[in-house]
Symmetry: C2
Amino acid sequence: MKQTKDDRRVERTRKLLHEALPALILEKGYEAVTVQDILDRANLGRSTFYSHYRDKDDLLLKGFDYLRAMMEKQHRSVAGKARGKGAGFNLSLELFRHAQENHRLYKAMVGKRSGQMIIRQAHKYLSGLLKEHIAPLANTKKSAVPVDLTVDWLVSSFLSVLTWWLDRNMPCTAEKIDELFRQLTMPGIQAGLGFELQ
Amino acid sequence: MKQTKDDRRVERTRKLLHEALPALILEKGYEAVTVQDILDRANLGRSTFYSHYRDKDDLLLKGFDYLRAMMEKQHRSVAGKARGKGAGFNLSLELFRHAQENHRLYKAMVGKRSGQMIIRQAHKYLSGLLKEHIAPLANTKKSAVPVDLTVDWLVSSFLSVLTWWLDRNMPCTAEKIDELFRQLTMPGIQAGLGFELQ
DNA sequence: TTCAATACTGAACACTCTGTTCTATTTCAA
DNA sequence: TTGAAATAGAACAGAGTGTTCAGTATTGAA
């Protein structure tokens, strides 16, 4: 099923819209960006926008979906290479790395000027990931802290460290910021989930 | 300098406005609340609102100022009673307690339906408090983590635990949630600030 | 090359919300 | 009682939203 030229045309239009938004968010903050701003930047007509997206939020959320898909694709590729039994897997480091490679996009999404909705979305998504990857490991007998509280806290912790790092234009490597993140949160995770780490 | 009746009248008007907002935030979320909603709820005229506040954000921020002043007053009173040298001082527990006593207001301010602006304001305020109370204790030689990162992280951690607790209608006591908060964050603080706690 | 389908343009529109202005009314203090 | 201050609320201009629609451009197929 070959992609028609019309399909590519639509894709190109959407890409123009998606690429216009982050820059505008970084310039004036998400709330202040108007649909007209996006249109002017992307050089598109008003009705074109509304034929593709319901509103500004919809555009942003679909941008987030795109980012997430990109991240998951990269993850599968990384995970594929290191398919040893003890290879483990470092979610936060992967995220820091991915954020570094797409820092403009990440900064617009989770940085100081982003909208609350996208932060919530990111929080929700990461909570889901964590519940899937980490919560099953919890030893509920040893742990004194409810698992969902621990997950919420850990996601907030991660996002705050990520935001700090991005808003200061990544003053250190992804590996270093991940190490700092782990120093701050690892012992708490042990208390929260009731297990000892390697 | 006696307070005139006109002064009291103004005060009453402002109180009506301040009391209308939290309920509306909890109902439909801060963003969705219009000035007209507030006016209808408070039974006041449009021009009255704008003679007291610049806009909706201004009203919310002054509400936050009020909350902060209330909290600081209570703190001084508590600190006054326990004025021993080793009495120490448990900021997070005081905040959890104050939140419990004013949970509707706190929930509107920092809960899931609040606005991003007020979260930022709260973050800024708490960061200031922490920098004042805790950062001077940091042992920069031992600590591997930048102090401002640690402070940012700790404030985010606190707000996430507070939000979890409030949004679930405080399923445990203030003392218990404070204990959980400390279990999650204390070891990280030691790593972040490079000192041992009592 | 022609033509119908599809995608985009952009003006016009109704709508909601904002913040200001202005006149009338109420409340208060002296 | 009267002047000053506070409030009421209608009217207004302006910004932004999301829809509609007639017209233009591009595409795929005959």
